[in-house]
Symmetry: C2
Subunit: 198 residues, 2 copies
């Protein structure tokens, strides 16, 4: 921790992901030379966000309110629930799809080796929601990593206990990609899961 | 300006150079999910820096004190003064060289078309320093752009009026570079300014 305000700023900027010594210096000098108002605005926005942003009571996404904007939106269906690992996934799905249901944000994935169990992901809370009976389908949108798949498996079992339909994002070759550059496991999966053409 | 603290944070992060919508999102989520302490520390460091950092009375570099660390260092020579465009240049020269003199930071370069004249760069203040007589040599380290060269020319004339020796950073092919990838004007200059080998 540096005593000099300039060094302290360089130090603090490096807590941002992807910001090393050189970018921190560039950012600090940019704000000091050309955008002190922006710097003050950022200081304020950070302080407010770190203090006020909490997890939505319903879906565990970040929000400054008791319930997030999506959960508070009465026009969205409560019958379908998309389960994602992180708030970034919610933003990505909202930006790319016309999905009109709700979300549940795990903020992580099952990882017994790291001591992350169902309780840490709010899965007890999710189970109470499913038990309440309003949900008809869950869409599992965890990552296709080992932990993401383990989490998906756990979610499928839970849904079965409550007789809730389960779906999972389609897996296969990405659109606009070239087969030549598709990784082997994706290509193998896409080949064995090939779909009949209408 | 967004009312929601999360959107306000995304907005504010984009005032950092090189940070677009996606990086802002990644940064905000990283701080919220994994480093709230870092976020608070950054908010505080920014607020202090934007409020307290001013220009050194002597060299115009950024500092929170009346006089910056370099100017306050009695072991450094006042006889030699290196003139740079920006605080980043001071950091670069300090990191790369063993220079033990002082600096003068223009915080810009002469650019009549943009309405930037000698007064905006503190050149009147510099001229008073030269007139005072302690300076024996100035090292011109402005950028090798058109405006940087014009500024260098102006500085040379000023130094001549006060009978101060002038030098300029050597120009030529960069070390560790390949001739093949050196731009034409640098190569032409390096060729015509070739040095006898001892």
């Amino acid at each position: 921790m540096a005593a000099d305000p300039f060094d302290a700023l360089l130090d603090a900027l490096r807590c941002l992901p992807g910001v090393g010594a050189r970018s921190a210096q560039r950012m600090a000098l940019h704000l000091l030379e050309r955008d002190r108002d922006g710097g003050r605005r950022l200081a304020n926005a950070l302080a407010v966000a770190m203090r006020d942003i909490r997890r939505c009571d319903r879906c565990r996404n970040f929000t400054a309110a008791k319930v997030c904007r999506i959960c508070a939106d009465e026009r969205r269906s409560s019958q379908i629930l998309c389960i994602v690992e992180s708030p970034a996934d919610v933003l990505a799905i909202e930006a790319a799809t016309g999905y009109q249901g709700r979300y549940f944000v795990l903020l992580g994935r099952l990882s017994p080796l790291d001591g992350i169990g169902p309780g840490d992901l709010g899965l007890d809370q999710l189970e109470r929601q499913l038990a309440a009976g309003a949900t008809e389908e869950i869409v599992i949108a965890t990552n296709t990593t080992v932990e993401g798949e383990a989490t998906a498996h756990y979610l499928r079992e839970m849904a079965a206990r409550h007789r809730v339909r389960v779906s999972r994002l389609a897996q296969g070759v990405p659109l606009g990609g070239e087969l030549e550059h598709t990784d082997q496991s994706t290509l193998a999966h896409a080949f064995s899961s090939r779909q009949p053409m209408a």
